[in-house]
């Protein structure tokens, strides 16, 4: 056991070994905080994409567990009804595709129809099981001759909302261009005539009132909420 004189430096040395903890103080520096937290989200997005399993299906539920349509919450960022003219509506497809152009709802409805009861999870913390019908995004991309090795889809909406989607999630067998909820054509407030239904993604990525789809490797914008600081990948 040591003498009093030699013990003080010993304490000091052991205390100094804790200095790495002070690195956490960087989060308290206003100039650094933003980029550190952005880095944290980016890292977590990267990790989520790594453990995403392409063939792993989101749980589907029997009709008895589906919430009735009037208990399926509505979240619009702007208006519930942007006044879409259904007669003249088309989906504009651009970017890395063989056959760009205007696609009608009939062309999308002609693709094999998928019906699913899946859980919608809102970033706010609530969740609800709903009933959805539509065409696989994967099938539609084949129809348009899209390069499925591209990184992203970029989607614009008639209420000026916009979203992006990584290709692996877009090709998931449950990822839909959704035109029905509860076996009925989409209502205006739920995104008529066409919305995204992605049971492997958080709620804000389920864009409504789709107007265009762009296949691309590089995103100029990530999404309405993403560009304000929310995760751009947010897989479930």
């Amino acid at each position: 056991m040591s003498e009093e004189g030699s013990r003080t430096p010993l304490y000091r040395r052991e205390l100094l070994k804790l200095t790495p903890v002070l690195l956490l103080g960087a989060f308290a520096v206003p100039g650094l905080r933003g980029s550190l937290l952005e880095g944290g989200i980016a890292f977590s997005d990267w990790a989520s994409a790594k453990w995403f399993r392409r063939g792993h299906l989101a749980p589907e539920y029997p009709n008895s567990e589906v919430a009735p349509l009037n208990k399926f919450p509505l979240n619009s960022y702007d208006v519930d009804d942007p006044g879409v003219d259904f007669e003249r509506w088309t989906l504009t497809v651009t970017g890395d595709v063989q056959w760009p152009g205007e696609y009608t709802l009939e062309q999308i409805k002609a693709l094999p129809k998928v019906q699913q009861n899946t859980r919608h999870v809102c970033v706010e913390g609530w969740d609800v099981v709903g009933s959805f019908g539509g065409a696989r995004i994967a099938d539609f991309l084949k129809l348009a001759g899209a390069n499925v090795n591209a990184n992203f889809l970029y989607l614009e909406c008639l209420d000026d909302y916009y979203e992006s989607l990584d290709m692996a999630s877009a090709l998931h067998p449950q990822a839909l261009l959704c035109y029905e909820m509860y076996d009925q054509p989409l209502t205006r407030e739920h995104g008529a005539p066409l919305r995204l239904r992605l049971p492997t993604k958080i709620g804000y990525k389920q864009a409504k009132y789709l107007s265009s789809l762009h296949v691309t490797d590089i995103l100029m914008k990530k999404g309405y909420w993403e560009d304000q600081g929310y995760s751009s990948y947010y897989g479930l």
Binding site: M1, R7, E14, G40, I41, K71, V123
Partner: protein
């Protein structure tokens, strides 16, 4: 210097020093290895960030029921929260989840591979020692003699909070990625319930923190400093 095992071998009432020698600073024991101290402090910061940002996230939907109709359980005061808004709180929560996880896994890994976990393990006599310790702390009974670095009730508290820590990480994984971790979600009783467990675990950790801080204050500077330097002067179990 790590002579706790040898000291323990003497038993709780063992007389180590010649009678009459004052018990002073010459009794000094290395109680907390560096990795444990590092993890303790990193985890303390991470836990406060997780709790504050978690409460801000909870403010976005302060209920465990359905969205329609929404019955708010309680509105958390803004002063207890971190992040300012939902998006900001999520940035803190998700970033520090990794720091929290890293410090937790480093701690558990170190404890197992170094054998230091024995400090914490409840032995058979410990089980009998829990009640006398409760009687001492809560009903002013006599203080039972202590033979290791931690008394039985302390071990129980630290083991419990470790379990809560593991539970918070596992339920958090369910809330973050319920599809990829669907098996884990099933164990938790589904996505919806996992959110309730996650909150309940926070309450448990809050209780632990209150008890922990009270004990740290009661036991004074020497005990507190040992979590900084690793060394403890005149620990109870050596006297």
């Amino acid at each position: 210097m790590r002579d706790t095992d040898q000291l323990n071998a003497n038993g709780a009432g063992g007389v180590r020093e010649p009678v009459g020698e004052p018990i002073d600073a010459s009794h000094i024991v290395f109680e907390h290895p560096l990795v444990v101290r590092l993890c303790h402090w990193v985890n303390s910061v991470a836990l406060l960030v997780m709790a504050g940002s978690g409460l801000q996230i909870f403010r976005a939907f302060p209920s465990f029921g359905p969205k329609i109709p929404q019955n708010n359980l309680l509105i958390v005061p803004k002063a207890l929260t971190l992040g300012g808004w939902l998006g900001g709180a999520l940035q803190w929560h998700i970033t520090f989840a990794w720091i929290y996880l890293a410090s937790g896994l480093t701690y558990v890994g170190y404890q197992i591979f170094s054998g230091n976990y024995r400090q914490l393990m409840l032995t058979q006599p410990d089980f009998l020692g829990i009640w006398p310790m409760i009687r001492h702390y809560f009903f002013f009974g006599n203080k039972p003699s202590v033979s290791g670095a931690y008394n039985p009730l302390q071990k129980l508290a630290y083991l419990s909070v470790l379990l809560l820590g593991a539970g918070s990480a596992l339920t958090g994984m369910v809330l973050y990625n319920p599809v990829q971790f669907s098996a884990l979600a099933w164990v938790a009783g589904g996505f919806h319930r996992a959110r309730f467990w996650h909150f309940l675990i926070l309450c448990g950790m809050g209780l632990f923190l209150v008890g922990h801080l009270v004990m740290v204050i009661l036991h004074g500077w020497n005990n507190f400093a040992s979590m900084l330097t690793g060394w403890k002067r005149n620990p109870e179990h050596v006297q």
